[in-house]
């Protein structure tokens, strides 16, 4: 079977890596090319770059960043942020992305998912979903960096996205993002039960036990950011702990 992937995520704003808590209070975390190369050397299985400036400010440097990172990267690269139409995705793919993630624009216009899947294939089309738990326990899709609640049910949304041709779900728990309190396991279980396509768990990782929890709950990959950017641990160290605990990863 395919091994679970450990995927460092670089949130990039104006060409610099940033990290915040629940998408706010962004602080500088370095140069995306140097960071991508460092994580690749540590054994990262893939890199995700999300241009967080793209949605709120309507602009991004994602194409230039993608082209620069591609030169040094010999592992898969997924890029998202500000993709509103097929041409936006094409520009990122031509710059060197292997997959493109869509989020807010797909919520506003779900046909975008089918347009991307038809043109580039499902394996290129990632739906990023930011999920916030409601007081009644259900999860709701949030957009615009969590500032806008859509009222849309997360499980129904991912199911319809998969039917439209999404090849992968990048599932971020808004409640856990940047908190280092562990992934939202109930959310992962609900979403992996709803779809057959791969689900990347995101939001809340602090240690190898958290990764293991997410992977044993149905996620096929885990996104990691804060603990890597803050130098708390490395991809290599996390992989060694997973291997020691019997979870097979690419060494």
């Amino acid at each position: 079977m395919a091994a679970p992937r450990l995927i460092p995520c670089l949130d990039v704003k104006d060409g610099r890596v940033v990290k915040g808590i629940r998408f706010q209070n962004l602080r500088d975390a370095g140069d995306p090319v140097a960071q991508a190369a460092m994580y690749q050397d540590q054994g990262a299985d893939e890199i995700v770059i999300l241009d967080v400036s793209a949605t709120p400010e309507g602009r991004g440097h994602a194409v230039e960043t993608t082209a620069s990172v591609r030169q040094v990267l010999s592992i898969p690269l997924t890029v998202g942020g500000g993709v509103r139409k097929v041409e936006d995705a094409l520009a990122l793919l031509e710059a060197g992305a292997d997959k493109v993630a869509v989020n807010t624009a797909a919520v506003q216009r779900p046909e975008l998912i089918a347009e991307l899947a038809d043109r580039f294939g499902s394996q290129c089309t990632v739906l990023a979903v930011d999920a916030a738990q409601r007081t009644d326990g259900d999860w709701e899709v949030v957009v615009h960096g969590g500032r806008t609640r859509t009222g849309r049910n997360v499980e129904r949304w991912v199911r319809s996205a998969a039917a439209r041709g999404a090849g992968e779900i990048l599932l971020t728990s808004w409640d856990r993002d940047g908190t280092r309190s562990g992934y939202d396991i109930d959310l992962i279980e609900a979403v992996t039960a709803a779809v057959d396509i791969p689900v990347i768990a995101s939001g809340g990782a602090d240690n190898a036990d958290h990764l293991e929890d997410a992977l044993s709950s149905g996620a096929t990959a885990v996104l990691i950011a804060s603990i890597l950017h803050d130098g708390v641990t490395t991809v290599g160290s996390l992989k060694r702990q997973l291997l020691a605990n019997g979870t097979e990863v690419r060494p």
Binding site: A2, A3, L93, S122, G167
Partner: protein, 203 residues
Amino acid sequence: MNTDVVIVPTGTANTASVIAAFRRLGAEPRSAGNPEEIRDTDYVVLPGVGAFGAAMERIDEEGFRETLVDRIEDGRPTLAICLGMQLLGEKSDESPSVSGLGVVPESVTRLPQDLTVPQIGWNRVIPDPRSRFLDLGWAYFANSYKLSTVPDGWVGAQTEYGGEFTSAIERGDVLACQFHPELSGSWGADLLRRWLDGAESRS
């Protein structure tokens, strides 16, 4: 050393990663403009992302079919990646009415339905010990379809995903990989290097 590598434009493929990988190895990759370039260039890459039918349609429109078949039959340095490997087959479940290149007498079938499909991620490649290019290691896959057996006259590698499938085949200086060597880290870069070097040493 100027190693010319031409990449067959299959229309749907994202070739930036392939181009970057060959540049890191010191080669000079470019996109093929006409069938003569595919005939006359030392190294040809047949990449592939997207659908079987759309890629074959583009190959036929551009008139690439015959030159591709010829150089593969002759064992000249040709690297087929992902969908590119499937295009070597006769046909595919993905686009049942479309003829592949047919240099491999095989049909391409879907991965088992009860698994997460597409397979996206790293998986083990276990090659036949007689392989010239292929080596044991981990490769990155993104596929929903596959070849099931190693055709006569070829040497192959196996990978496990709900049962074994053929993850690569080689014959002469032709190498076809269901995985993406350009995205398979240093293991993939080493494979591309062996293909460039090994093919050169025989030419």
